[in-house]
Structures are given as structure tokens and as C-alpha cells.
Symmetry: C2
């Protein structure tokens, strides 16, 4: 297998693990009102790369070492991985609303508000965000990780929840979306380079970074390892966003599952608009290189380097 084949095999296996866990963790119509249980599942199982769960699991496996071992790393980090996907999904559902980006198509399917109406879409997003925190507190249960003292498990959970909540809230993802929303208002001044960086760092970067960090926290990474994973996550997040902007310009609607060129058409600031395509691609590569350097400094790797390369090389 080439390195890329090895990553593909790992991704396929871990995606299946995550999807099975999401199916197990999500509310069912037996206990929650059926309309909300159904709308949550519609958006969660709409496809998607599961990038945030993959970062969490890869970071957990890379930092767990041989003790407690990779299997336990997955057990420890799987609930956080799923919670991150729930939070990412909620953000998409709310971003797609008529009052926000007004997108009717996502991953090639009608968006939640088109299918369930605006009110239920808002509520399903609220529920996805809230259930993420139910999951983070409840799982893994102490009985499932007997190798760990229950006090240590509680400490890790709290640190992971805080990391994720801080990245998702007003200082992170929601704050970034607010900047985006304001910048798209008629007559708003253009964001400029610093504004664009801040928006992306909050809107996309913060949760991508938190995904890797939360996975590592659950696996019991050392302070040095956490700092390296945090730097890795920051650089991968930036690379991801630059490539997203490039794909929005280059991509075809069919491949992206959304309307190509939409951001540029809406007058949203993008890296290609600021720097051109070639320089944007160069910057994405440079961010990837810095992500790999951060890992090298503490000698951790696993699937993390390959994920960074995949983020930059992806075509959708």
C-alpha cells in the first residue's frame, strides 16, 4: 500500500466506526419527538468527510502510545469524535438557513430547512449542539475504560468539553460566523487580509484545532504533545480553509454538492480573491508543512501527517 492507500483504508474503517457510534448515540423517535429525532439524523447522515472525528481519532491514536494502546485510544476518543461531528453538523444546518447563507443544497441534498421547515431546522441544530454535550459527559462510561482511574477519566472529559465548547462558542465558531454574516451585509466594508484570517480562524480553524486537541486529551497526551497537536490543528485548519476557497472558485457544482463560485458571487472575501490561485495554493502547502513540523518536534505522527496532506490535496 502507498501511504495514501494506508490512509484511505484507515479512514474507511474509522468512518464506519464513527457512523455506527453516531447511530447509537443519536436520539431515536422512541424517546424524543419523532420530528426532531428524524431531522437530526437527516443532517448527520447526509455524507461528509467526517474530518473532525478523523482528526480526533488520529490525534488520540498518535498520542496514546502503546499503553493504553490504540484500541483504548479509540474507545476514549470516539464519543468526542462523534460530538465534534454533531457540532459541525449543527453549524451547517444553521449556516444554511434563509437568515444566514440561504443555501438550499448541501452535499447534493436539499438542506434541512427545505425538508423540515425553518423552525424545525433551527431546533434540530439546537438539539445537535446540546446532544454533543450529553454525549461528552456520558461517554465513555467508567466501566468501559477500567484501565483508567475514574477521577482521571472525569478530568479528561472536563478538559475535552471545555476545549470543544470554547472553540464552538462566541470566541470561536459562532463568532466567526457572526463576522461572516456582518461582512456580507450590503455596504459592509471589505474584510481585508487580517479580517479574513480572523474570520476563518474562528469559524473553521477553532473547531478543527479543538478536534485534534480533544482527541489527544482523551488519550492522555502530555502537555508538550498537546501543544504540538494544537499547532498542528491550527495549521491544518488554515490549510483546509484556503483549499475550500480554492475549490469554491475551481470546483464544479456536481463535485462539491453545492453551488460553485457562490462565495465569490456573494462578495465574500476569499484567499483566491486576495492573493490569486497560485499564491493561495502555495500558502496552503506552507501551512501543511508547518503542521508536519509541529508533529516532528515531539516525534508523533500516526495518520496525522497523511491527513494534513489529504486536506491540501483533496478535490472536494
Amino acid at each position: 500500500m502507498t501511504p495514501s492507500d494506508a490512509l484511505q483504508a484507515w479512514l474507511a474503517d474509522r468512518r464506519e466506526l464513527v457512523d455506527r457510534a453516531l447511530d447509537r448515540f443519536l436520539p431515536t423517535a422512541a424517546r424524543a419527538p419523532s420530528v426532531i429525532a428524524e431531522a437530526m439524523r437527516y443532517s448527520v447522515f447526509a455524507g461528509g468527510k467526517r474530518l473532525r472525528p478523523m482528526l480526533a481519532l488520529a490525534a488520540a491514536e498518535a498520542t496514546a502510545g502503546t499503553d493504553p494502546g490504540a484500541e483504548t485510544a479509540a474507545t476514549l476518543a470516539l464519543p468526542a469524535a462523534c460530538a465534534l461531528e454533531l457540532i459541525h453538523t449543527y453549524s451547517l444546518v444553521h449556516d444554511d438557513l434563509p437568515a444566514m447563507d440561504n443555501d438550499t443544497l448541501r452535499r447534493g441534498r436539499p438542506t434541512a430547512h427545505v425538508v423540515y421547515g425553518e423552525g424545525t431546522a433551527i431546533l434540530s441544530g439546537d438539539a445537535l449542539l446540546t446532544e454533543a454535550f450529553v454525549l461528552l459527559t456520558r461517554e465513555p462510561q467508567p466501566e468501559a475504560v477500567t484501565a483508567l482511574p475514574s477521577g482521571e477519566l472525569a478530568r479528561r472529559k472536563l478538559e475535552a468539553i471545555r476545549t470543544i465548547a470554547e472553540a464552538a462558542g462566541a470566541h470561536g465558531m459562532v463568532g466567526g460566523q457572526a463576522i461572516d454574516l456582518k461582512a456580507a451585509e450590503p455596504g459592509a466594508p471589505p474584510l481585508g487580509e487580517a479580517g479574513l484570517r480572523e474570520m476563518h480562524a474562528r469559524k473553521t480553524g477553532a473547531l478543527l484545532r479543538a478536534s485534534a486537541v480533544a482527541g489527544a486529551i482523551m488519550a492522555g497526551a502530555s502537555r508538550d504533545e498537546l501543544a504540538a497537536i494544537s499547532a498542528y490543528g491550527t495549521h491544518v485548519g488554515l490549510a483546509f480553509q484556503i483549499v475550500d476557497d480554492i475549490l469554491d472558485v475551481e470546483g464544479a457544482s456536481a463535485v462539491l454538492g453545492k453551488t460553485a463560485g457562490k462565495d465569490a458571487a456573494a462578495g465574500k472575501p476569499t484567499y483566491p480573491a486576495l492573493y490569486g490561485l497560485d499564491e493561495s495554493r502555495r500558502r496552503a502547502e506552507a501551512s501543511m508543512a508547518r503542521a508536519l513540523e509541529a508533529l516532528d518536534e515531539v516525534r508523533i505522527g500516526g495518520h496525522l501527517p497523511a491527513i494534513a496532506r489529504w486536506v491540501v490535496a483533496r478535490t472536494h
Copy 2:
């Protein structure tokens, strides 16, 4: 002082404590995008009874006993009390949206989406919900409660977060709002008595119950005390909702700060519509009595009985 005067003095003191803490905990424009920090504060400081924080603090004080003492009970439960108010406020912001209840007036002031626009209102609600979890994980910091081993503090925090998240999510508050939304659709079948009870138990009851329980968890209540507090919270929650329905029929717009009779006019099911005003009032009183009985069984009280009486006697 009459018992009622004693409660009023306690409420005034604790509300000030909660409002000062909310001001300290909420994001500022220095670190978060200013539009989102401002919109969050606008809705949080719009007045309101702070019933959920009061239930949390009263339950903490009632179950803490003399060791670690009432002061420490407030220190332990104050962050949870504030987080509960953030979650309650987010639910109001989202419920008021055009796609939901379409309310333009709340507590006598224009609602968030009227002031900030629909997109920012949705985001400010998302941010309030998320910051609640930041707060619950971060505070109180171990240094502030040295009387408690840090492992025990982490255990209590996790249990409180889980209790609150479960009550706020698809099985609780959001689920109840989804039922409400569906019942208000043109041509929807009437909810009936069982449907009305389920809707209220989820939409309002779950978080009121969780408020009292989370406060008691943070104070280190025993299992028996937690069970009693849980029953108390359930009965107070039902009484609260029946009285809310009664006030909607009887109340004047000026007193409620919202349009009176609006629920009935919208064809929403209410207790007075199902049972008439007299029987509704009798049921509210009966729920209050059951709340007091639950406390009596484990011999706890403090301000909890007076709060139950206030919930039923209130005129707004």
C-alpha cells in the same frame, strides 16, 4: 419579616449575585466579535425572574447543610445557576424568531431578532447555549473550593453538566418546543391532555427540574436528597406552566410584557382551555403541595418551599 418578605430579601440578594456573575462570565467585545457579545448581553440583561438560577441556588443551600456551609454552596452552584439562565435565555431568543413564535416583544422590549436581525439573533442564541457549557466546565475553579478534592469537584461538574444537557436537548426543552411548533401548524390535530402534559414536561418542566437538581449536585446532596429535589422540581415545573397558562388568559399585556391571550389566539393548547380557570388553579395548588411533600420526606427546606408558593402566587 413575613416568610414572603424573607424570600423577597433572599431573591433580591441572590439575583444581584447572579447578575454580577453573568456580567463577569459573558464574553466581552474585547475578545469576541462585538456584535455577538452585544446581542448576548442584550437578551440576558432584559430583566426576568431568574427563576432557574434561584432554584439552583436554593437547592444548593438547602442540601449543603452546615458543612461546607451556605457560602460555599453558593460558590459551588453559582456557575451552574448562571449557565441555566444562559440556556433559558437562548431558548427565548430562538422561540421568538419569525420561524417559531414570531414574537416582537419580550419582557417589554423588542426581541433580539427585531434589534439585531434574524441571523445574528440565531447566532447569539447558539453562543449563549455554547457558553453555558464553557462556564459549567471552567467554574468554579478548583482553587476557589479548596475544601473539596479536585476529583470530587470534577465528578460533580460532569453530573451537573449531563443533567442540564439532557434536560435542554432533544428529550427535553428542544423536544418540547418541536412538539409545540408541530401542534401550531395549520390542520394539526389538537394535542389533548396527554400531549399537553408531555409538551410542558419537556419544554419547561425538564429545565426547571434540572435547575434544582444541578444546584443540589454541585452542593454534594445525597442520593435521597437528589430524588426529593427532582420530585420537587418536577411538581414546581408543572405548577409554573399551569400558572403561565392562567396568566396568559388573565394577564394584561403591560404586566406580562408580551401580548396577552396570544397562546389561546394561536390555537395553542392551554390548561384553562382544557379544564377552565378554576380547575387549572386547583391543579397548580395541588402540584405545589406535592412539591412541598417531597421536601418534607427528606426534611430539607430552606427557601425551596417559599419559591414553590411564589411560583403559584405570582401575577407575572
